[in-house]
């Protein structure tokens, strides 16, 4: 069983943005946390600070009772035992796949490396090849095996599946999830892919662009964060097309423009375009005027004005009968 990892860091670069990530609670062993947000908010910088490849200016990175960095003293990467799978994988091009896996100080020998590769679906022939002779998915597996081989105290993954095509991603996502859960150490995954974050992570830490740079905007159970983003910035980062600030009438009913909001209403109401259903005028939660229709394959993206901007998605057959300026009803599925 591993030990918890506490991350409270501030990292600034001269003339560059400041990254602030102060997690309220440590990453627990066996817990997979996704560091999620748009590009340029400091997700990779955070990961590099945890790995010891960059120093922090203030704060504390602590693994169990061992201080890794407190802004004054920094434990070198060699002493941290992190299993790092970077965006570029960084496989040693002059070594065979099994030699890459067996490279780590505590990785064990050839037999263990080959067994680990076998577990991840790479046979003897692939294990004897150099990275340049392997496919993207195979390279990804070698990188994962290499990180796992040294029995890491913490797993760090930076956009681990970004280089793969959709089918390759699906296969490896399941494999990755299973391996990370079995490892029982804290795992931190950097991603800007919502589906990936939700598929892999138990906990979601959302970073957004702040006034001085990247900062932590919300931290919680993955599903809870997705369903109830705390702010418009978080909702936008999560990919919601519709983000409304509700108003309440004298009767206590909640509205977003002309749309009646039913059920529990928080400080911010969010909806994906797919959550809005077209109805006849007067038959839904409110009416809106179509302002733009854009064809996207078998569906159409619709922009509407309901007193607030609304983005909805409709099937092609349904959208073909609509014209710009037409009044339609909208129902919000929540």
């Amino acid at each position: 069983m591993g030990e918890p990892l506490l991350i409270r860091l501030t990292r600034s670069r001269p003339g560059g943005p400041t990254v602030r990530v102060h997690l309220e609670s440590p990453l627990r062993p066996g817990e997979v946390t996704a560091l999620f947000g748009p590009s340029g908010v400091g997700k990779t910088t955070t990961l590099r600070c945890v790995a010891g490849l960059e120093r922090i200016d203030e704060g504390l990175i602590q693994h169990g009772s061992t201080v890794w960095d407190d802004g004054r003293r920094r434990l070198p990467p060699q002493a941290r035992r992190v299993g790092l799978v970077g965006q570029e994988l960084a496989l040693f091009p002059h070594l065979r796949a099994w030699e890459n896996v067996a490279y780590g100080r505590d990785a064990g020998g050839e037999a263990r490396a080959r067994a680990l590769l076998e577990e991840l679906g790479l046979g003897r022939a692939e294990a004897d090849r150099r990275p340049g002779q392997l496919s993207g998915g195979q390279r990804q597996r070698v990188a994962l095996a290499r990180a796992l081989a040294s029995s890491p105290a913490v797993m760090l993954l930076d956009e681990p599946l970004s280089a793969l095509d959709a089918s390759g991603r699906d296969v490896l996502r399941g494999l990755l999830r299973e391996r990370l859960q079995r490892l029982e150490v804290p795992a931190l995954i950097v991603t800007h892919d919502r589906a990936e974050a939700l598929a892999l992570a138990d906990r979601l830490v959302v970073m957004v662009a702040g006034a001085e740079g990247g900062e932590l905007a919300q931290d919680g159970a993955a599903e809870a964060v997705l369903l109830a983003p705390r702010s418009e910035a978080v909702a936008r980062a999560l990919g919601y097309e519709n983000v409304w600030t509700p108003r309440h009438d004298d009767a206590g009913r909640a509205w977003a423009g002309a749309l009646r909001l039913r059920g529990e209403v928080g400080a911010v109401v969010v909806a994906f375009a797919e959550d809005l259903q077209l109805t006849a005028p007067g038959a839904g939660d409110g009416d809106a005027t179509l302002t733009e229709r854009r064809w996207e394959g078998p569906t159409a993206l619709l922009r509407l004005d309901a007193g607030v901007p609304v983005v909805a998605r409709a099937r092609r057959a349904e959208a073909e009968g609509l014209s710009v300026g037409q009044r339609v009803g909208l129902r919000l599925r929540r």
Partner: protein
């Protein structure tokens, strides 16, 4: 007649200088790759000085720095019992300094060509900087390092100005092949000068041809 003693001496000097600069240049180049700011710029400029200075200027200062009245010369004489200038050992010191950029600059270029992510991956896998250097950086920059060694060898082989200033012209001790050619021309023995020059040209060409022949795709390069 060909001065085989001078040719042998030059090859010996070039070999020892190349080996010395391999030992000295690798850590120096590695340091330069990771050094930041002013210190790196100053060191790089100092190392590159022999590229622009006339050999006589460098030779003059070395003569002063290694001469019998200098602290280095006196220390050497006290330990070895002989002077450093006008000796083969003095030639080695001068050649090492004069050929420094021919080894260090290719080494630095080769090291900088190694993806930083590979070095960091090695660190994260628990390997020290020294282990990372031996197991990752050196294998991946081997061709660049070889280029530095070959350039140093070829450059030292044809050295003249500094050699003459520091070593003089003692047969079997400090008379290198370039000095022997100069002597032959001074003695109007164009035939001997021509034969020795032709040999030097051939030797240098073969050395450089070997260097360029070994360049090309790395054995681990992708097939696709």
């Amino acid at each position: 007649m060909m001065d085989w003693v001078a040719i042998g001496l030059s090859v010996k000097l070039a070999g020892i200088t190349s080996a010395a600069l391999l030992a000295l240049g690798l850590p120096l180049a590695w340091w330069i790759c990771f050094a930041a700011g002013r210190a790196r710029r100053v060191v790089e400029a100092l190392i590159a000085l022999p590229l622009v200075l006339p050999p006589t200027v460098l030779g003059f200062y070395l003569l002063l720095a290694l001469g019998p009245r200098s602290p280095v010369g006196q220390l050497y004489a006290a330990v070895v019992g002989d002077g450093l200038v006008f000796s083969f050992e003095g030639l080695i010191v001068a050649s090492v300094l004069y050929s420094l950029p021919f080894s260090v600059q290719p080494f630095v270029a080769a090291f900088e060509g190694v993806d930083r992510a590979l070095i960091e991956a090695s660190w994260c896998l628990g390997r020290s900087s020294l282990e990372t250097f031996w197991r990752v950086v050196l294998p991946l920059s081997a061709r660049g390092v070889l280029a530095g060694v070959v350039l140093t060898f070829a450059h030292t082989l044809g050295e003249f100005g500094v050699v003459l200033m520091i070593g003089g012209n003692l047969s079997g001790e400090t008379r290198t092949v370039s000095v022997a050619i100069y002597d032959a021309v001074q003695a109007l023995d164009y035939s001997a000068a021509g034969r020795t020059s032709a040999l030097l040209v051939a030797l240098s060409f073969v050395t450089l041809l070997g260097l360029y022949t070994t360049r090309g795709g790395a054995p681990w390069a992708s097939r696709s």
